[in-house]
Amino acid sequence: MPDSRAFSTIYLRFVPPVRAKCRRLLGATMDAEEVVQETFVRLWESGPDAAADADARTVMAWLYRTCTRLAIDVLRRRRRHPGLAGEDAEGDDASSGPALEDAIAAKRLVLTLCDRVPVEQLEAAVLCRVDGLSQPEAARVLGISERTVRRLLERLDESMADWRKEYTS
């Protein structure tokens, strides 16, 4: 059986940034907390010894990828069941001015399109536009090429433009 105590150390070390990330998108809600927990359950199930041996960047990339996907699932569920919508996401402390406005706009984009576009585009949007990763960083987290990240964002922006046309027509 894997060493749960050693994994507890990993858990305590990485929970705060994962929690911060989930709250950026989902707010300080129970949904965000459940995504955090589910992320670590999956890390545990995937083999906690590997996490213990890996460097922090590798572990964080894995956690980012997993919790991003899970958070998007929550957003889609919220769209399907508006009665379950959580609180509006709060901005975190580090953002202010234009950066905060961009993050809020990015969240709205993701919320608007979460049930209309493929999850890969949403992942790229969350990482690059909400979390502020560079495209090379997002590519490493997602395990794809930078060119693919760029294309995903372009397609997302096209979908947004189409949605605006529909909405205003």
């Binding site: 929690r19 911060a20 927990q37 990339a61 402390d93 580090a94 560079s134 987290v141």
Partner: protein, 236 residues
């Protein structure tokens, strides 16, 4: 959509840096020291780290082929009175006196002192620990506390490397009884499980926590209760 202006250091890099303990020699630390936005973000992570966190529970309740259960919901939901009742009659074992650490059996404690109840969850169900029965690998333990006049409670276990005690969880004592947001899953290591519950008037740092546990503090400001759970690898 307007592309956001890229900050030279992303949150991902800050997250990696923070979770690595903010090594002073890292290039990024030099940037952080000069950047208010990055300092605010790292302070944000520090605040989150100080929040009570549900303890790690690796025993997921996955049902093969079925929808995945959310194991942590069980523990997170169990903070209300109704859920506490679900664990059965609220019979309290008084915390062991420090001098009796390791001795089996319940005892009569002093009226008004904090009390701890250990709940053991096995494949057969959940029961109140009687203070004697061994626990087995895979058993999950929860702690319910009752208290008067204390503000905070922390749960700690011996560090695997010896020396200090490791703080596993903590909570504010907002109401009693309080089911702590903490689960201890018994592993297959042969040594017995030792757990300390530290009640305090205010949050104490890790050094003081260890000192209180090792000193078996029993004062108005800090009160330590400890358990030794003998482990059996023989399935019940």
């Amino acid at each position: 959509m307007t592309r956001p202006e890229m900050h030279p250091v992303s949150r991902f890099e800050l997250d990696v840096h923070w979770s690595s303990g903010r090594p002073a020699e890292a290039t990024i630390e030099a940037h952080v020291l000069a950047c208010g936005a990055c300092q605010r973000y790292l302070a944000h992570l520090d605040r989150i780290a100080a929040e009570p966190a549900p303890s790690w529970n690796p025993r997921g309740e996955r049902s093969a082929g079925g929808p995945r259960a959310a194991p942590w919901r069980t523990w997170l939901a169990l903070s209300g009175t109704a859920a506490a009742v679900a664990f059965g009659t609220l019979i309290y074992l008084r915390a062991r006196p420090a001098a009796q650490w390791g001795d089996p059996g319940a005892y009569v404690g002093v009226k008004g002192s904090p009390a701890v109840q250990v709940l053991v969850r096995t494949s057969a169900g959940t029961s109140v620990w009687d203070g004697r029965a061994p626990v087995h690998p895979g058993d999950a333990l929860a702690l319910e506390v009752a208290f008067e006049g204390v503000e905070r409670v922390a749960v700690a276990a011996p560090s695997p490397h010896g020396g200090a005690w490791t703080r596993l969880a903590e909570a504010e004592c907002v109401r009693a009884p309080l089911l702590l947001p903490f689960t201890l899953v018994i592993d297959e290591q042969p040594e017995d499980e030792r757990v300390a519950i530290v009640f305090s008037a205010e949050r104490i740092d890790d050094g003081d926590l260890t000192a209180a546990i090792e000193g078996e503090a029993r004062t108005r400001d800090v009160w330590v209760a400890g358990f030794v759970l003998h482990k059996s690898i023989v399935k019940p």
